[in-house]
Symmetry: D2
Subunit: 316 residues, 4 copies
């Protein structure tokens, strides 16, 4: 994530700016503002702006005039109650805006969350940077044998080396040809006056899916938490989970009450189906229950056993 | 809009609070923050929070790091270009939150705009105030003869007096019976221990549609401008237009560049259909054109004539 | 729900129309098409149109060409898997359209579900019917002492009679005055030529919230099930639950596979928080656990106990 | 767009299936159902299902019981009125579902329209086909000098040949390496037992952006027309416009009344800003007006002149 000197100066200037406001302000998030938090090899997230705090959730739930009139313990209890019972609208009263740099194949998963505002860097107007994602050795995993959309063991030796060579080589070559087809003036590669240059909107099709793009992404807290519940999940692809994990840290700084409730009632929660619940009741009554006797499918039984053993949440 | 002393104290406290922030801040909007702007006889709007400014629109359009690096005139030109060409996503990067007190029949029109976040005062949990909208004399209009959804001349004399008596009488009686059915302790009306009291979620059905409710309403600038283009329009019902007009003033304070572009390219603009455009071309070529020769329906011809005469925008 | 003879004839004609189509068609839902299913005292729901079936969910999940190529048991298993793991997009591929007649206070709860298409009868254009909801004796409940938004015991005797008198009287009087203010020609009440008549958009404000309105409401299956999970819940207000229950029957006819999965994994499911799950694990290990030792709040402990006792789902 | 024999048989079977239905049915669209309409070199659109017709728009606008009770000419006039005045909700009462095969860089533009339901072929689960978009010679355009996001003249001679070689070569090589890294059994390329194979979710990042993907895409008519107004516009990139044009043909078959109104009042319409309108009024009054005297910016003046000269709609 090499920032130019100009970019670093702009970020430093934005970070040191100070205005007076009567709006709810969160000092812990102010210290993170504008600062790139590195993700993957060249990506980052930056908090660009925010609206509201834990108090704004409470205020909306109470639809009352004041804030700060109740004790903090009551506010925390109310936020926990709202989260537990999926009263989602008060969480929609907080909003956050990120600047994200991410590989295109991650952007394609991400954009499926429709309830957000997006402005993406346009490769119709502008030329993308020469940056592409290459997995670190510990993330270069084989296809899982058990799970059609999962990863298995890490590749090693010759196979890993060959994969890295292919990924690096194809991304590099495709990018270099992209620049050649564009034929625009660039540092170190002056324009060839004998060629017209291919339209940017066409040349971009030659790039590989690990090329980095960037966007501004703005979302309310309720929908952000929904995004994070799916993307910070162990079943999410590692590359998008890395972004979700970085964002969780910003949520913790921003709305610590909502964050804790989210851990307890969403990320750490398990949903038991009617059948699973019946099985648990029989177990609690001292009855021995196995899969065959439970009436559950093998898959559900496995999920129930995992949940009761304290493993990661079921889900997919 | 009688605020209690407690509410006024809370608003004063919120207005005088000062925090330091590195976020974009708009001094002209800060002076309006939290302050109730009266609408109709008991309603108001209050700006509760905001995110972004004119610069945030430009920043999203440029998806660049810095802000303030370009001249103001260029920024203004870019905002105008975005508005003219309906590039809507940069305007979505600004967000505003209002607290609104409004009659229920206005709330029912308002809520049809789905792209917003809402927390409404709940009459399942709480008791509504004894406030209902009664039109001022100059807004007590007859049904329009020309337009099935419009107003005609103002009522006067005996008829106006009778209408006001009915509206006031029915709203008052229905509210008083609501309180009687609830049978809850209230200032001046102690609970009758001999009655159980009807559930709040049922008793509310006795209220008339001019009873006031209130909500928090949060929306991005693009969708707010769309709302205002429909509701600040002369064809909108006066009672919701009064709210739209009050909100326009807050938009002007918040994002003056976007506001001016909105006036020029949306509120003051006219859309000419293919047929209307063909008629205008013939007129400009010096050809006399009348409705029969224009190929336009009578309705369209009337709309075109009005637009060219400089009257209010066509619309519905 | 008194339909006019003309309406009944139109419905009969629509029901007996037959076209040939190559689209997925569900005979069990065809038999319900257009037919009003009564709800409350004057309301109804009618299925007006639908798109897709259980097979369309499977087809979208497979994003493959064919349908019917797999065995039914596999399809059912796939639908159950999708429901259990909240893979929601395949359920969005089915769509249904209802015509609903409902009291305004119910419509105000309903409309808060924003992910649907709505066309409501407009009281700016037209005159509402003389129909208002009056609760049956067994639904005339007192305010719950335990739950701020719930109902307690049924009212009886003098209090019930008085409440019914007030509800009926105020609704009737307000409606009659509405008609008087409108001063339009109507069967039995000719227009008074000496009065102009109040604009429809104003006169409607005199109506009480139990007046019936109607709308077309179109929604995809995923969002419909979300609506039903909230509104068919025991914590929902009875009056909207009555509509949800009627709609559940149409879902069962339409997509029986998705319906059964919905019962098992949503309506009948329970979500255990991290803390609840820890308590259950200790119970299963034979450890005695009480509220104090569980680390759960009293409210959560009560919810857990209720879930394990097989009572209605937690929720709110 | 080479379909396998199995796929062709399935499509033929679906097309020849016949069910009876009481739903609104559109014979002209039934003849198109399921049939792939070719777009670009390997892409297509197929109509998979639909709900509603022109009559459903009228029905929703009337929120009345019957259909067919008014004359066709009145229905057409009502649809035109609704389109002209942007009454959008009745158009939301129709829904259509497409199966689309399209290059990934087109899919990335397309998905920015958020008000639709999407199920995309998943390269986490499955292996993408060996198909990539290569522009036909007449679409291999240079960057426009005038417009940062447009195309200029077509490339020819050596430059065109070189560009085609690069596009074909990089796409082919990247795809072949994708298959090599996957190391799965495939026709003609048996698995190498000495290698584990890279996880599908990782290997896909090596593909170029012109690789074809496919999805089911479901949308209501209002939002479809909004999509088409942007994507069938001359300023849209040719590759997505090709899809929009194919879809326009299906809209014409499906809802001919709405289609004609859309041409007249949206695709063929021009929006004049307040300033443009003032200039036109002066012209019509016989006053000579040039850019300097008009008060319009150069850009706006150019747009106005183009509109009055009958050129393509302004827009961007």
């Amino acid at each position: 994530m090499p920032l130019t000197a100009e970019q670093e100066a702009e970020i430093a200037a934005a970070r040191s700016a100070r205005s007076e406001t009567a709006r709810p302000t969160v000092p812990a998030l102010e210290t993170l503002l504008f600062q790139p938090l590195p993700v993957l090899d060249h990506g980052f997230i930056r908090v660009i702006d925010y609206m509201g705090d834990d108090g704004a959730i409470v205020q909306a739930a109470r639809v009352s005039y004041g804030r700060g009139t109740r004790r903090v313990s009551e506010d925390a209890g109310l936020i926990r109650y709202l989260m537990r019972h999926r009263h989602s609208t008060p969480f929609e009263m907080c909003e956050i805006k990120y600047h994200v740099k991410l590989p295109i194949f991650v952007a394609r998963q991400w954009i499926r969350h429709r309830t957000a505002n997006v402005n993406e860097y346009s490769a119709r107007y502008s030329i993308l940077d020469r940056e592409f994602y290459l997995p670190a050795a510990e993330h270069l995993a084989a296809q899982s044998a058990a799970n059609r959309q999962g990863r298995g063991d890490v590749l090693d030796g010759t196979e890993a080396a060959r994969v890295m060579d292919l990924l690096r080589g194809d991304a590099t070559r495709s990018y270099d040809h992209y620049v050649e087809m564009l034929n625009e003036d660039a540092p170190g590669t002056p324009r060839d006056p004998g060629r017209r240059g291919l339209a940017r909107e066409l040349a971009r099709m030659n790039l590989t899916l690990n090329t980095y793009t960037q966007w501004y992404w703005k979302i309310d807290l309720h929908n952000l938490l929904h995004f994070l519940s799916l993307r910070a999940d162990p079943h999410a692809q590692y590359e998008i989970r890395a972004y979700a994990d970085a964002m969780l840290a910003t949520v913790q700084a921003w709305v610590p009450g909502a964050y804790q409730a989210f851990l307890d009632y969403r990320l750490g929660a398990v949903t038991l189906s009617a059948g699973m619940l019946a099985a648990v009741r029989r177990m609690l009554a001292g009855e021995p229950v196995d899969q065959a006797g439970s009436g559950l499918s093998k898959r559900e039984w496995t999920e129930l056993t995992a949940a009761l053993a304290g493993q990661a949440r079921q889900g997919g």
